[in-house]
């Protein structure tokens, strides 16, 4: 009953809140006011229902936290289905194998004749998977909130576009160059700003991204300005001429390989000396430096490595689209990549991949949803932080193997 009353109150409050914006629309040309009262009913009803659920969820959350606090060694932590799957090594390995096989035969499954739309969409999605995994290093592992990640993507894309246009360098030469250029960019930018506090860092990276975009727009003699750079060559395949479909499929494999490499590298790093230092910095900067972690160097390495992947995949992006202009590198794109990392679960590789695929593929296949896409993103980002801050999939910590017996014998010290 208390719930009902509160929900009712909240419903009414939201009817009040949304009253001017949702009900009234002033048409300044015809000089008419449109009254949409039905919207008010909707707003009230939705708020009521959501408030109801909200209260239950918050209560459940509080109860769960209390339980954890009361019993710090839960015998079995309740885990979601996906979580259990991700934890079970045998099962997850098999699933991985299935996923890999599906990924490899994917182009042959979906593209027949002229139809290579699905392949193309998948290439775009996989590009964002790599971006998500790259940002995952910076934000998810090292906890550096980078709101200007898209700038590194732009550096990679423009590096390829300019090198191929002006110096006739091929895709395979430019691929590492794009990555390195981005990394260099990251190091130069990172140097002055990485000692800033977390939230200052966010605003400064955002600023850098807008500077990058402005420079790309204004310096048209070099970067082509807002008109962009057209006719960027696609990746070459041992000098053979490929038609559009073959090129798409070829690009698909390139970016798939890139995804695999990124996963491999991130996985190795996560459980390495560097990876642990990143996470420690994310968790507690002061404790980390007090334990001997060099903050500047560690942060810079995470920032630069994240930038490296963005640059790498930027080259693929430019080659895949044949055309780039500054419009592809806006703040909203940065926010989108960030959303992937956040929704997937900071630091979790599988989670980021699923989130990236979902965020890129769903709007592509569910066109009706497109209008509400950004609205839903925003709401989901907030809800995720409140109810499931660990993301879709928990970042599982590796269990290290250690020799208990040896330790036992050696109890005397060293």
């Amino acid at each position: 009953m208390a719930h009902f009353k509160r929900s009712l109150g909240i419903g009414l409050w939201f009817m009040f809140l949304t009253l001017p914006l949702m009900v009234v629309r002033v048409n300044t040309i015809s000089r008419e006011v449109e009254w949409r009262w039905y919207n008010l009913a909707w707003a009230g009803l939705c708020a009521f229902v959501i408030a109801w659920f909200w209260q239950f969820s918050i209560e459940r959350r509080t109860a769960r936290r209390a339980q954890v606090a009361a019993n710090p060694h839960p015998a079995v932590e309740k885990l979601s289905l996906v979580q259990r799957l991700a934890d079970d090594p045998v099962l997850s390995r098999r699933l991985l194998a299935v996923a890999a096989v599906v990924a490899i035969i994917f182009p042959w499954l979906v593209s027949t004749g002229q139809n290579f739309y699905h392949v193309n969409v998948m290439v775009s999605a996989l590009i964002f998977v790599v971006l998500g995994l790259g940002l995952n290093i910076t934000v998810g592992l090292a906890g550096l909130l980078d709101l200007g990640y898209i700038a590194f993507f732009a550096v990679g894309a423009y590096t390829y576009a300019l090198l191929s246009k002006n110096f006739d360098l091929g895709f395979w030469t430019c691929l590492p160059l794009g990555g390195l250029m981005s990394m260099l960019f990251g190091v130069i930018l990172g140097f002055p700003i990485l000692r800033l506090r977390g939230d200052y860092l966010a605003i400064v990276t955002l600023g850098f991204a807008s500077i990058t975009k402005i420079v790309l727009e204004n310096w048209d003699t070099l970067f082509g300005g807002a008109a962009g750079i057209a006719n960027i060559p696609r990746p070459e395949f041992f000098g053979m001429a490929l038609d559009s479909r073959q090129k798409s499929v070829y690009t698909y494999y390139i970016v798939l390989a890139l995804v695999a490499v990124t996963i491999f590298v991130t996985n190795r790093l996560k459980n390495s000396r560097a990876g642990r230092a990143w996470m420690a910095l994310r968790e507690d900067e002061i404790a980390s430096v007090a334990m001997g972690v060099d903050m500047a160097r560690t942060k810079l390495s995470a920032y630069a490595l994240g930038a490296f992947w963005a640059g790498l995949v930027g080259v693929v992006f430019a080659a895949h689209n044949n055309f780039i202009n500054p419009d592809s590198f806006t703040f909203m794109d940065s926010a989108m990549i960030l959303a992937m990392v956040v929704l997937g679960g900071m630091g979790s590789i599988l989670g980021v991949i699923i989130a990236a695929l979902a965020l890129k593929l769903l709007p592509e296949y569910l066109r009706a949803f497109a209008e509400y896409r950004m609205l839903v993103f925003g709401a989901v980002m907030v809800l995720m932080m409140i109810f499931r801050p660990q993301g879709l999939i928990n970042n599982m910590r590796r269990k290290y193997e250690y020799d208990t017996a040896q330790g036992g014998k050696d109890n005397g010290g060293n």
Binding site: V68, P72, H73, P74, V265, R268, L269, S272, R273, A274, G275, R276, A277, M279, A280, E283, D284, I286, A287, S288, V289, A290, M291, G292, V293, D294, M295, S301, L305, N395, R397, K399, Y400, E401, Y402, D403, T404, Q406, G407, G408, D410, N411, G412, G413, N414
Partner: protein, 267 residues
């Protein structure tokens, strides 16, 4: 890292720290010798933790000198150095308000302590080079042994946030020990512990001194613990040093009794 007993390890002189015109600590000086357990006591707000922060490089002191004499190394003035460099020189600390890495496992927390004693790079990690594999193994083994020492080996794979208060304090000690220090700075290690846990901590500290051959500088409010294990005690009040001596001397010092008026010094 072995130091001969009696060798001077740390020397602090004329140490002062201002916060926006407010002098938090004023002209503090003390020294510490190998094999000693020295306690720094005083009422809340006396500036004890600030002393720690100045020594470990979290703050840069306004005035004064902090000099360390690493066993077998050369003596160095360390104020103004970065905390991580100071840790590499052989001083490690714990925190009054526990600062673990909550989303990392207990073992990983300790492994972070090994960071400054290892050197494999990102490239090593990606290629899984011999060096990186060797260091990883050493790190895990050493960390696990330290966990056994502080009695946390059975929860090595738990997230550190799930540990009890007392266990978290012991984990902080293990993490600090992982940096191979010659001097360990413990900031209120017994805070929030029950008498039983405090008693165990008492034993642990003494054992660590013996087994790891570290000297210990300790901030603590639990007078029983302090009087039990300290070789010498410095007392601070309002940022100033008001007394020093053996536990017995301190107990009888009228200034200390006055500072602690009402508090149980004779425990």
């Amino acid at each position: 890292m072995a130091a001969t007993k009696g060798e001077k390890l740390l020397e602090v002189s004329g140490l002062s720290m201002d916060f926006g015109g407010l002098r938090a600590i004023d002209n503090i000086g003390f020294e510490l010798f190998a094999g000693e357990i020295v306690a720094l006591i005083g009422p809340n707000g006396a500036g004890k933790t600030t002393v720690f922060n100045c020594i470990t490089g979290i703050y840069e002191p306004t005035m004064g000198d902090v000099t360390i004499h690493p066993p077998g190394g050369t003596c160095r003035r360390i104020n103004g150095m970065k905390p991580n460099s100071i840790t590499s020189l052989g001083m490690a600390r714990t925190f009054q308000n526990i600062r673990l890495f909550p989303a990392m496992t207990v073992l990983e927390n300790v492994m972070i302590g090994r960071h400054c004693r290892t050197g494999s790079t990102i490239i090593d990690a990606i290629l899984s080079s011999r060096r990186s594999r060797r260091e990883e193994k050493e790190t895990v083994d050493k960390s696990y042994r330290l966990l056994q020492k502080v009695g946390l080996a059975d929860v090595a794979d738990e997230f550190s946030r799930n540990l009890s208060y007392g266990a978290q304090r012991r984990l902080e000690i293990a993490r600090a020990l992982a940096t191979d220090p010659f001097l360990l700075l413990l900031d209120e290690p017994a805070a929030g512990m029950n008498p039983q846990e405090t008693h165990e901590l008492d034993e642990l500290i003494v054992r660590i001194r013996a087994e790891e051959q570290v000297a210990i500088l300790l901030i603590e409010h639990d007078m029983k613990l302090v009087m039990n294990i300290s070789d010498r005690i410095y007392v601070m009040e309002y940022g100033k040093e008001i007394a020093q001596g053996t536990p017995r001397e301190i107990k009888e010092n009228p200034k200390v009794i006055e500072a602690y008026l009402g508090e149980e010094v004779h425990a």
